[in-house]
Symmetry: D2
Subunit: 217 residues, 4 copies
């Protein structure tokens, strides 16, 4: 596919280019705080940049009727309104976390936690020392899927990109779910999945779980 | 409930008594290679003994119309025929593995492996040095749920009761499922779950997954 | 060797008998709250019972000049005085933790933590839900070897016998030490090590680390 | 310090610049396949490039009497001869692995494996799917420190940078050493340690273990 990329010069942008090109896709439009460069009209636009870029991104998608994959964090109500409006014309995938593993894990917990209702459950998450919030947003989301209280333990050590452990245990056995982020490549691979999805999807606002699991939500 | 136990003097039998009594249930019938002792007619019979004990167990259940939970391993065709016959009159739960964690994990793999089709997957299992077969039967069962080849690695060290790890990984993340057996108490807790189930089930032969997940198979 | 055992009827006592007999040793004297039984004078006495039993144990060792391995917990000053007195005549090994793995790990941390002074370090320990104190005594001991503050995280889930993780991490790597107790057999094996040690040791009060590492303390 | 860097434009070179500058050091000389740039004479030279670059690196160090930290892999006898010659005049640190964690772990195994002589030991290593050799060179080195046979298991999944597990187990407990590489930053931090070391060391050829542990080898 031909793809456009907003925020191409940052680290996440570079990772997206690397992952998409390795999959045989071609960058034909790039946009940045420093300007735009259009080689050819893309088939899909990917934006992992800043909320402030969204006005121009949405305008570009709307006028060219291009589907959008948006992973920018910190969106406000006004941004979601713009996306909803755009999604009337083209498919839009919006998520704050394009990790496939975390998305799969959340769904597993949602479906299976009730079968281990009488087991104990606790969560351990490990992140680099520069992460200020604790517990992590992901640990909170995982906990919400459990539908009950779960003690959360946060380690802040070295440069760990992000580990999440969910431990279930009864008197005779332990079942542990462990997700480990290796690098931001995880999110670029998720963005690729989403870009391939919107090429064949109808106009609507989708979340990343729908990309992975389709109608089965 | 009042329960009967076949094979009460072995280690597994003692564990079952301990778990059932802690849950408020009463042992009213026990049978062993050395004889039988009937204090009061039980409401359910549990048998985790030897295939050779099955004739008498089935006879006892049939004549008293008692549901049966059977965890004996090494059953032959003739034994399954007897159980099917019995199951026309009373509910019977038969399984070679009453671990809830493994049963949940198998089902998760069956349902979710396809969403990580393009990830790599490998299995590591760790057992005590006295275990002769490798890979473990459980590792093989877990692998079957993946619907594709999965390299399996078997460690045989010390007294480890049984660890199973299933690793999924793509270029950016790892999702690991880890089951750890602590002791045979795991199976006694599963037997308890099954005993509570048959009290309210209709005549039929059930496997342990049905006990945990009900009609949703 | 011929060994005597104080507190032979409890779970720990049974484990010690099993481990010692498997190693080819013979129980020739046993003592319990219910009485004593002397088949033959033992070569060493092992006591993993109650502080209240110590008077008789020490008396027996002293009058027969027998070395002692004592793993009883909750000893008071008066008990230590008795042991010191006895140790003038025979070798005595006293410890509150006969786990070889934990003893090795403590020593490793003592010797190597300083080489990772600028790494972050945190401790996670996991125990069964019935354990009331947190962090565990072992986690505290491990932390003391680090010679600096270390955040400690305590999970209380199911029937986990006891896991201890010490994580060191810098920006580029993680070095984790993980000890897992499988069963009280660990302590029986440590007691065996100590019993073999005292057979050839001179009169003195030893701790378990000296048993493992000899003069190299 | 002022440092020179050979191979500054590659990924490892960029990581070294980032780590050294964050520590307050200044890049004053850089060399590459495309040429050299000398801003000011450095106090130490770091080379993580290609064997073919070594002639010029050694020449530069020799004529300016500058200590060298060399992490280039694939060196031949002739290269080691050059380094030995240089080391008569200035301190030189040469290693194929500048990971502090692995260096610490090797030393721990060397010192402690004998105390767990009667435990079982096995090694598991996990690397990305693009790694062709198995077991990894690091797993082999770790195994050599054990002074006995150790089964090795190699997983090749996704993008895992490199995990090494060494499991010791007896009938009652497990002691596991687990090293995890997060990124090549680990090696840049090791190079920094070595650069700080050579500033105050006498002329000699050192390996990385000496950098970490000093005279205590």
């Amino acid at each position: 596919m031909k793809f456009g990329l907003v925020g191409y010069s940052g680290r996440m942008g570079q990772e997206i280019i690397s992952v998409f090109e390795r999959a045989g896709h071609t960058l034909t439009f790039k946009m940045d705080i420093n300007g735009e460069e259009l080689l050819e009209l893309p088939e899909v636009v990917v934006d992992f940049s800043q909320p402030s870029a969204l006005v121009r991104t949405v305008e570009f998608c709307k006028s060219n009727e291009l589907p959008l994959v948006i992973g920018t964090t910190g969106l406000k109500n006004q941004h979601f309104e713009m996306l909803k409006e755009l999604a009337k014309k083209v498919p839009v995938v919006q998520s704050y976390n394009f990790s496939m593993g975390i998305t799969v894990l959340r769904r597993i917990l949602r479906e299976y936690a009730s079968y281990m209702q009488d087991w104990d459950v606790e969560i351990v998450e490990i992140h680099h020392r520069y992460k200020k919030d604790a517990p992590s947003g992901t640990a909170i989301k995982l906990g919400e899927e459990l539908k009950r209280e779960s003690p959360k333990h946060s380690l802040r050590i070295g440069g760990v990109p992000g580990d999440h452990h969910v431990f279930f245990a009864n008197d005779g056995e332990v079942l542990e779910f462990h997700h480990r982020a290796i690098s931001r490549r995880a999110f670029a691979l998720g963005a690729l999945k989403a870009a391939e999805f919107v090429l064949n999807a109808g106009p609507r606002l989708y979340d990343f779980e729908e990309v992975l699991f389709g109608g089965r939500v």
